[in-house]
Amino acid sequence: MANKTSNDAFVEFERVQKSYDGETLVVKDLNLTMPKGEFLTMLGPSGSGKTTCLMMLAGFETATHGDIRLDGVSINNIPPHKRGIGMVFQNYALFPHMTIAENLSFPLEVRKMGKSEREEKVKRALDMVEMGSFGGRRPAQLSGGQQQRVALARALVFEPELVLMDEPLGALDKQLREKMQFEITHLAHELGITTVYVTHDQTEALTMSDRVAVFDDGRIQQLAPPDELYEQPQNSFVAQFIGENNTLEGVIKDIKDGRALVQLDGGELIDCKPINVSKPGERTRVSIRPERVEYNKDRLQEGVHTLKAEVLEFIYMGDIFRTRLRVAGNEDFIIKTRNAPDQVRLQPGQQIEIGWLPDDCRALDA
């Protein structure tokens, strides 16, 4: 995205606000720019405003304030049926009184397309999602996964440039969901369509997206590619929401050279990377990923501070070991280690010393 110009902005939210009751804002000052062809996921807990944003983009909700632009054109006053945006709904919303083929043919019919052209496009769309032989069935005769595919085909059959998906995999079981995640991303990239995907499932967001917008309290807390989001959370909400996370609370003692010295509430000192803290004396919440914690002394850097820990529980999870520790008064401190032949299995009651690279330990807002 280095050569990003204003022409690249396919979908734009500019200072968008939304209120339902005139008293509270559900969406507060949303600014977002998406280039063409991007797969962007809006991730957040329920009530964070992500679905409202999607509905405003689709045209089912009007923005209370601000501008939404599609390909440079403001769409605030364009009704949904003229926006040409494909949409996949949470419950699929396949019309139960029509066959699968009729469902797919519907958007083409309302566009006054000829019969032979319609049939051809419907067939191609069904083949695309491997549902070619199901055209004559009714939605109720299909399984959840099949309905999901048909809903996807219907949203794509009229070749929209932008497709919105509102928690489309929420109703599927885990295995099917993982398969569909893969298929949807492939399809979206293959066809080069711009996709806005809403979910509350962080794994889904991380595995599918080019970029993820983490929503909370009506604002985007962080907008970044998945790896950046996971490894470099910008505030403690994102750190908590994405992936598993250990937190320790304390006060900044000193900041210099991109290092922060933090005194934990129990008095211990640790080294961190300051993210959104600026001056000594500020309270901070320190975040460390479970898999970045090191307890093998040989692998720890010289001179960094370490913490004493007591092993409380060892859980064997197959591919990984999950160990719960008591660290600086926190009894829910988790470390994850890979199941490798040389890996030590910690025993409950064992006293160990843990440490980490200062870059992996992020001092965030309290």
């Binding site: 689709a58 045209g59 089912f60 009704p79 949904p80 049926h81 003229k82 926006r83 040409g84 945006i85 494909g86 949409m87 709904f89 949470q90 419950n91 919303a93 019309f95 139960p96 009184h97 519907f106 958007p107 309302v110 566009r111 219907r154 949203a155 009229f158 919105l164």
Partner: protein, 423 residues
């Protein structure tokens, strides 16, 4: 699995066929279920099905003639009704014997009024003759023909005897012919003269007005059901009370209220006159005609339309409309192609309810229908309670029942009965 197909029926562990042992195992359950519904079943059978069957049977029952006048019926067998001549002395003699017996038992007027339905005037012949015949000596006196003619000239009319002969079988189609505005002529059934056809007009009117009432209920009820189904449930429940409010008011009160509203000195006319839209001497006639009946019955039956439509519409997820719009359909197309077809089962259920209630409605047409707005049910009620021609009432009722069943069947063929939902 596959070897059982070759070796015949599947056997249970003790060697009996599986089907039989399954049936045995389920028999106890079935018996218990039957015992649970038995009280209701017996109640319905005794208070509903049997009386209706008995009533319907009256539409063809005609034992009274052959039971009261057995000798006459036998004697009349040889008489040729088409000859245009009065029957011979033998028939009159038989009639005298029958009538004497009947008069002694005081049942001769019943057969008189029965035959009077078919040929007006017979009732008085039987009453007069019954009074005289008591003093006659059936064996010694004679000739009876002259004696009868002395009582009343009417006995000499071949039509009277033809009526007796025609209605002597124990079963008759006479009531049905009557109900269909037909009569038994010399050459079999024929239509009555046009000015005497009353039931055909009534049936037509009943069907037509029921259809109009059903249609206006759909038109008025659909938007209401739509709004109720799309409101938040708190508000919807509150408004639902308004829909149900009429149920808490007596039907008579509601109908009488329409009288107050619609009559020429009523609220609507007064308002129109006051507004100057209608001249005082040209007040609108809105009651005691079809208009009044349609208005009042639409109002009364409207909840029966709204409730099933509402409960069906409630199950239609709003995301269907959104999906249709996102696919490029205008508001109207989305409604017509996606929402409306899904609400048809509600319309179907409501229409069947309203139509069947309307076609048999009695109180409202009676009160506000005047003469032009009455239904077939009012005529049936008249024959049950005033003219006491129960046979004709039963025949009219049977025809009404059959018409409803035919319409029901047609509905099943066109829309499909499984396409009806009450929620």
């Amino acid at each position: 699995m596959s070897d059982t197909a070759k070796s015949g029926p599947v056997l249970a562990a003790d060697g009996t066929p599986l089907k039989r042992s399954l049936a045995r195992a389920l028999r106890m359950q079935k018996m218990r279920a039957l015992m649970l519904i038995a009280p209701l079943l017996i109640f319905v059978l005794v208070t509903f099905i049997l009386p209706i069957a008995d009533m319907l049977f009256r539409s063809v029952e005609n034992q009274i003639v052959s039971d009261t006048l057995p000798r006459t019926v036998v004697a009349l067998e040889d008489w040729d009704a088409t000859s245009g001549e009065t029957p011979g002395e033998a028939v009159f003699k038989a009639m005298a014997a029958d009538l004497q017996e009947a008069a002694a038992a005081k049942i001769h007027t019943r057969v008189g009024s029965r035959l009077n339905y078919e040929t007006p005037g017979i009732s008085s012949l039987f009453r007069k003759a019954g009074r005289k015949v008591k003093k006659w000596d059936v064996e010694g006196d004679g000739p009876f023909k002259e004696m009868f003619l002395e009582v009343d000239d009417g006995w000499g009319d071949p039509d009277v005897w033809r009526t007796i002969q025609t209605y002597s079988p124990r079963l008759t189609n006479g009531y049905f012919l009557n109900a269909a505005d037909m009569q038994k002529g010399p050459d079999g059934p024929e239509m009555r003269p046009e000015n005497e056809r009353i039931y055909w007009v009534l049936f037509q009117r009943t069907l037509f007005m029921s259809l109009v009432i059903t249609a206006s209920c759909i038109l008025l009820g659909y938007p209401v059901a739509w709004i109720l189904a799309n409101l938040p449930s708190r508000t919807a429940n509150l408004l639902m009370i308004l829909v149900l409010l009429p149920f808490w008011t007596s039907l008579l009160v509601r109908t009488s209220a329409w009288k107050v509203m619609l009559q020429q000195q009523g609220v609507i006319n007064d308002t129109l006159v006051w507004l100057g839209l209608v001249a005082d001497d040209a007040r609108l006639v809105m009651i005691n005609n079809q208009f009044g009946t349609i208005v009042a019955m639409t109002h009364i039956l409207l909840p029966f339309m709204i409730l099933p439509m509402y409960s069906v519409m409630q199950t239609i997820n709003p995301s269907y409309l959104r999906a249709a719009k996102s696919l490029g359909a205008t508001n109207w197309t989305a409604f017509w192609r996606v929402y409306f077809p899904q609400s048809v089962p509600g319309i179907g259920a409501g229409s069947i309810l309203v139509f069947i209630l309307a076609i048999g409605y009695y109180i409202t047409p009676e009160l506000v229908g005047g003469t032009k707005g009455v239904f077939i049910s009012n005529r049936i009620a008249f024959h049950i309670s005033s003219s006491l021609n129960w046979g004709l009432a039963a025949a009219l009722g049977t025809i009404l029942l059959v018409v409803v069943l035919i319409l029901y069947w047609a509905y099943d063929k066109i829309v499909g009965i499984d396409n009806v939902k009450l929620g």
